[in-house]
């Protein structure tokens, strides 16, 4: 099992993945990556259950907790000409390493308010959502059942 936090720690809510990893690494295997290229693939290979944490923009109210399953992540359109997108990395992983890719992979997101201000603090809305995010990630990684898990979707 592994927790992967994505995003830039210096741009407010984009630092959500980094902040969550910092909180979780005391009790769970957790690492931070700036963006999801082939390094992302490298670190998740051989892990049965993987939680990916990132700030998201979906049009929901800032601070809304959201999860995305594998199918939803893979459906995200490709855009990169410089490195691989998360959908390409994951799709490539399941093509090349079907035996080694996670049996379960979920993306845990919180709707971002501010992704551009150079500061280490999350916005108040995202900060408020952090405890729930951490709880849900722990439940998922440890395989626990929690009704609120699905209600947040």
């Amino acid at each position: 099992m592994l927790v992967v936090g994505l995003g830039n720690p210096y741009f407010s809510d984009d630092g959500l993945g980094y902040r969550a990893v910092r909180e979780l690494c005391r009790e769970l295997p957790a690492i931070h990556l700036l963006s999801p290229g082939t390094d992302f693939l490298r670190v998740i290979l051989g892990k049965r259950r993987v939680a990916v944490i990132d700030a998201v923009k979906t049009g929901e109210k800032p601070g809304t907790f959201l999860t995305f399953n594998l199918k939803e992540i893979k459906s995200y359109p490709k855009s990169s000409t410089h490195t691989l997108s998360i959908s390409d990395s994951i799709s490539l992983g399941y093509i090349l390493y079907p035996e080694e890719m996670p049996e379960e992979l979920l993306l845990f997101g919180v709707e971002a308010k501010d992704l551009t201000t150079f500061k280490r603090e999350l916005s108040p809305e995202v900060e408020k959502a952090l405890p729930k995010l951490l709880r849900e990630v722990k439940n998922f990684i440890k395989g626990g059942e929690d009704e609120s898990f699905s209600s947040g979707r």
């Binding site: 994505l6 830039n8 720690p9 210096y10 741009f11 984009d14 690492i31 931070h32 990556l33 700036l34 963006s35 290229g37 082939t38 390094d39 693939l41 490298r42 670190v43 990132d54 700030a55 998201v56 923009k57 979906t58 049009g59 959201l66 995305f68 939803e72 992540i73 459906s75 995200y76 359109p77 490709k78 855009s79 990169s80 000409t81 410089h82 490195t83 691989l84 997108s85 998360i86 390409d88 799709s91 490539l92 093509i95 090349l96 390493y97 993306l107 997101g109 992704l115 551009t116 150079f118």
Partner: protein, 486 residues
């Protein structure tokens, strides 16, 4: 289903844009390659202790992480008036070479060669590593990826973290290598060496031996004739971590040599209203607009530029591959933009040989990896060769080493003028038949991809993805067609 938007397209709130204006006859008149976002890391590091800057600068881009780290670290040495011990320089060089391997491999296989393996007009969703996998097979891609993982593992061992290095210390390196780690790096270096050999062979197999692609390599429509800059060692061979910065004119004559902040004597930057990225040009030539050929103000950087300014590579296998390439083109300088990919493949081999050599250096486990810092000088310039080309980080600090001002000149910015001309040439070549279908954006993108441009670095924004849009306007200013790759 929910709409998932987690990619840089929204994070950047902007993207690259190519705008084409047609003349009255419907032929390409003007082309503008625009960078329309800006984040400005130079302002962000103001007030930050210089020793903290490498860790922040490494987040400019998720791809180019080790190079901003290394350039700012070298600047920090100068701010603290300290020269790292030889072992620290070797560790830094080892990390830089391993990073070049992982970076060039991703760019060459997933981005550059996919144009040729999948075909230039393949749809964008197929013209990527997934499309390459369909054509060359899973085992081949798996093998390449595994060897790239080996380079990434070397970066991890040396840098102390999975992706972004953390082992920076002014005057040295914060961790020494254990015997076990060296043995692991030596083993990983063998993978890198195999990767280097197969990359050079694959380029020859897929591009040089293909009659159609081989013609592209010699097609003058894809020549962008500029000045070139790179770093060389005392024998004139390509160097990456340190050495003399050399500038040649389009005919190959050496017109400049500098170190440190003397770059300011050679370059000025032009700001253009339609782009957030600046346009560096040679002061000695002066701004002449977007022209290539003799008298052009632009100076290209990157693998092909390094090859053009040098006497070749410092290692035997890469040198042999270099000689074959120069023979193919009938001499130097080489102007064809697709030759950048060839030089990139040779650099993978060169770096792999360097990694192997350094990993066998008896001094590499020396535990004395740091020298004590001296007086705060208040200024430092770190220059290295990044995968994309010459990278300059220049900092000014107060008496406590807190940054008061910064200037970062990155390879994509140096290449900005050259990219403009490459894109214009490609647009003139591919768009003059009046047919503006989706494949046209792919064909024009092929002209900027050799420069491996990183808009994140050029604007110091994050995190390094390049969504693109092509807009074609008639001579009356009416939008005829808009094509996006996102």
């Amino acid at each position: 289903m929910k709409k998932l938007v987690i990619e840089p397209i929204t994070r950047l709130e902007g993207h690259g844009k190519i705008t084409v204006f047609l003349d009255e006859k419907g032929k390409v008149d003007e082309v503008f390659f625009q960078v329309v976002e800006f984040m400005g890391y130079e302002k962000m590091v103001e007030g930050v202790p210089i020793e903290e800057v490498p860790r922040i600068a490494s987040t400019i881009c998720g791809v180019c992480r080790a190079v901003h780290f290394m350039a700012s670290l070298k600047a920090g040495d100068q701010v603290f008036s300290v020269e790292p011990p030889p072992v620290a320089k070797k560790l830094r060089e080892l990390l830089l070479s391993a990073h070049h391997i992982e970076d060039h491999t991703e760019i060459l296989y997933a981005m550059g060669l996919s144009d040729f393996i999948c075909g230039p007009t393949a749809p964008s969703e197929k013209r990527n590593i997934l499309g390459v996998t369909e054509i060359v097979g899973k085992d081949f891609v798996k093998d390449v990826l595994q060897k790239r993982f080996s380079a990434a593992r070397i970066v991890e061992i040396l840098g102390g973290k999975t992706a972004h290095p953390a082992a920076s210390v002014p005057g040295g390196w914060s961790k020494s290598l254990s015997e076990d780690e060296v043995r692991e790096i030596q083993k990983l270096a063998d993978d890198c060496l195999e990767l280097g050999k197969q990359s050079v062979e694959l380029f020859k197999e897929v591009v040089v031996k293909n009659p159609e692609y081989s013609k592209l390599l010699k097609n003058e429509n894809f020549n962008v004739v500029t000045n070139y800059m790179g770093t060389v060692d005392e024998k004139g061979k390509i160097a990456y971590y340190e050495g003399t910065k050399v500038i040649i004119d389009p005919e190959g004559n050496r017109i400049g040599e500098f170190e440190g902040k003397d770059y300011l004597n050679y370059f000025a930057e032009r700001t253009i209203p339609w782009s957030y990225a600046k346009f560096p040009y040679l002061k000695s030539v002066g701004w002449k607009g977007f022209v290539d050929g003799k008298g052009t103000p632009f100076c290209s950087v990157g693998p092909l530029a390094r090859l053009n300014v040098s006497e070749g590579y410092s290692t035997p296998l890469a040198q042999k591959a270099y000689e074959e390439m120069v023979e193919f083109f009938g001499g130097k300088p080489i102007y064809n933009i697709f030759a950048y990919h060839w030089a990139r493949a040779i650099e993978i081999l060169n770096h792999a040989e360097i990694v192997k050599e350094l990993s066998q250096d008896p001094e590499i486990t020396n535990p004395n990896t740091c020298n004590p810092v001296g007086e705060v000088s208040g200024e430092g310039v770190g220059i290295i060769e990044a995968p994309r080309g010459t990278l300059i980080h220049h900092y000014w600090t107060d008496e406590n080493g807190m940054v008061t001002d910064a200037n970062m000149v990155v390879p994509t910015t140096f290449n900005n003028g050259s990219i403009q001309m490459a894109v214009k040439k490609a647009a003139k070549f591919f768009l003059n038949d009046g047919n503006y279908d989706e494949s046209k954006l792919n064909l024009i993108e092929m002209a900027h991809r050799p420069y491996d441009l990183c808009l994140a670095c050029a604007t110091h924004a994050f995190p390094g993805h390049n969504p693109f849009e092509l807009n074609i306007y008639s001579h009356e200013g009416k939008l005829i067609k808009s094509i996006r790759n996102f």
